[in-house]
């Protein structure tokens, strides 16, 4: 059981890192971004390419992957997302899903379709008394917490953060105060892409890296964002860890149902607290 809890925290940490961008993108731009997890996939692949082909150490490869994915996120925002502001959700679904499919095909074209494994860069376990647990996974949980507090600090202490929070609440109000929101949306988008890529980098040694890894995690991230509240960063944090825990604990007793419960939980939350999109 203790192992399931720790594993749940790991899954929650990864889900949190990937979901923030989705939450921010919808909260500020009202764009449902199916392309979001392509940066997660790209992050994982660049890491593997850096470590395997270029011989770069894992953490430097991870840094490179995050930067490349952030650049990819910036390009997606400038070329596609920015044209979707104010458009109906249908357009945003179609356009961002197209970007996702194109991204997956590019990944397949470059790296092929077969899963690529990568080793845990630490390769040691910690003795937690009742069990032993990989130090790497503890580090993943710790990094997610660090991102959470860092993001809280960024939102509270910087003008960019305050403007993003204001725009999440009332975009027209920000515009009427003479502030072009698009620049800040782009920053939110790139931060979201960067964190999704970090999620991909950190998850790569835990899962199989394959071209469609983003599609699977995308559905879970939508569940996280809808459960936590779109644009609600603290809600996203709580929902990611609660749902991660559900996946892990239910998976221990009923493996086939581990992800079903996520969507059941999401449906229950939406039933109790409907959202207006």
């Amino acid at each position: 059981m203790m192992y399931a809890i720790m594993y749940g925290l790991t899954i929650g940490a990864i889900l949190y890192l990937i979901s923030i961008g989705l939450s921010l993108t919808f909260g500020t731009m009202r764009v449902v971004n199916f392309a979001h997890t392509i940066t997660y996939t790209v992050g994982a692949y660049i890491l593997i390419a850096s470590v395997r082909a270029l011989g770069i150490p894992f953490w430097w490869g991870g840094l490179l992957a995050v930067l490349v994915a952030a650049l990819a996120g910036y390009c997606i925002e400038r070329l596609v997302i920015r044209r979707l502001y104010g458009e109906s959700l249908d357009y945003t679904f179609i356009a961002t899903y197209a970007v996702f499919l194109i991204g997956v095909d590019i990944v397949k074209w470059i790296w092929g379709v077969y899963p690529k494994p990568i080793s845990d860069p630490i390769g040691r376990v910690a003795d937690l008394g009742l069990m032993v647990f990989p130090i790497y996974r503890i580090l993943v949980i710790f990094l997610a917490l660090l991102v959470f507090f860092g993001l809280e600090l960024f939102i509270k202490k910087t003008m960019v953060g305050k403007i993003i929070v204001a725009a999440l609440d009332y975009k027209e109000g920000v515009r009427c105060l003479g502030i072009g929101v698009e620049k800040y949306f782009a920053i939110a988008f790139v931060v979201g892409s960067l964190l999704a890529a970090l999620g991909g980098v950190l998850y790569a040694p835990i899962t199989a890296v394959h071209p469609y890894m983003g599609l699977h995690v995308l559905l879970l991230c939508f569940a996280v964002v809808l459960t936590g509240g779109m644009g609600n960063l603290r809600g996203t944090f709580s929902a990611a860890f609660v749902l991660g825990m559900l996946i892990s604990i239910v998976g221990r007793y009923w493996p086939a149902g581990s992800e079903i419960v996520v969507f059941m939980a999401m449906a229950a939350v939406l039933f109790l607290r409907p959202i207006d999109i």
Binding site: K162, V165, A166, G178
Partner: protein
């Protein structure tokens, strides 16, 4: 200062404003009155750039501004106070003012001073989430926020709507304080208040200007105002 010439505005296929024209002189307070659905809010949103006119022109300080976005109009001195009393509810009161100070380039202490000058009690709420303010306090915060920087024209939409009588008096006092210091177009349904403060009244009906009252005698006559609606 501001001239609206023959402006038409529509939401999709529904035309809301039909050939609306009005003119505001510097330092004056123009009130727009009319029944619900007359197009008053649409008119303000069009002037501030949130809506684009189908036809017609809007001039501000001699230059045409029709169709320009609100981001740009803020920096020429046009401020909009929304009808719904929507503040940035997840930021505290100080941060709400700070954003306006950041955008206008005015130092924060000076911006805070301006807001506190119109409502000293706001000092107690500076660290409170703006979403926790009462409707009246939010309205005052929005007016204060609009005064940050160098406003030339205030567009205020229904400042007393939904407020208790005592708060209406407070908002009226603030508007009275601003009279002559800044030009303003105010949408308002409280006719006694309109009579007290207006330099000019424009009556809108079904998207058209049906009457313009400019003399003090006409404006002071609330019965006449009521009849004009």
């Amino acid at each position: 200062m501001l001239k609206v010439v023959d402006v038409d505005v529509s939401y999709g296929h529904a035309r809301v404003l039909h050939g609306v024209s009005l003119e505001l002189e510097t330092g004056k307070m123009l009130f727009v009155v009319g029944r619900n659905g007359a197009g008053k809010t649409t008119l303000l949103k069009t002037i501030v750039g949130l809506l684009k006119p189908l036809k017609g022109s809007i001039y501000f300080d001699g230059g045409e501004i029709s169709g320009l976005p609100p981001e740009g109009l803020y920096h020429v001195g046009i401020r909009y106070v929304n009808q719904d009393k929507k503040v940035f509810s997840n930021l505290n009161v100080r941060e709400n003012i700070e954003i306006a100070a950041f955008s206008s380039g005015e130092p924060l202490p000076q911006a805070l001073e301006k807001v506190l000058a119109i409502y000293p009690k706001m000092k107690e709420f500076l660290n409170l989430k703006a979403g926790q303010l009462s409707g009246g306090q939010r309205q005052i915060l929005l007016i204060g926020q609009a005064l940050v920087g160098d406003p030339k024209l205030l567009l205020v939409d229904e400042p007393t709507q939904g407020l208790a009588a005592v708060v209406i008096n407070e908002v009226a006092r603030i508007l009275q304080h601003l009279k002559g210091k800044v030009s303003a177009i105010i949408v308002e349904q409280n006719l006694p208040l309109v009579s007290r403060l207006a330099d000019q009244v424009v009556v809108l009906k079904e998207g058209k200007v049906v009457r313009v009252l400019s003399s003090a005698a006409e404006i002071g006559n609330t019965a006449l105002l009521e009849k004009s609606l």
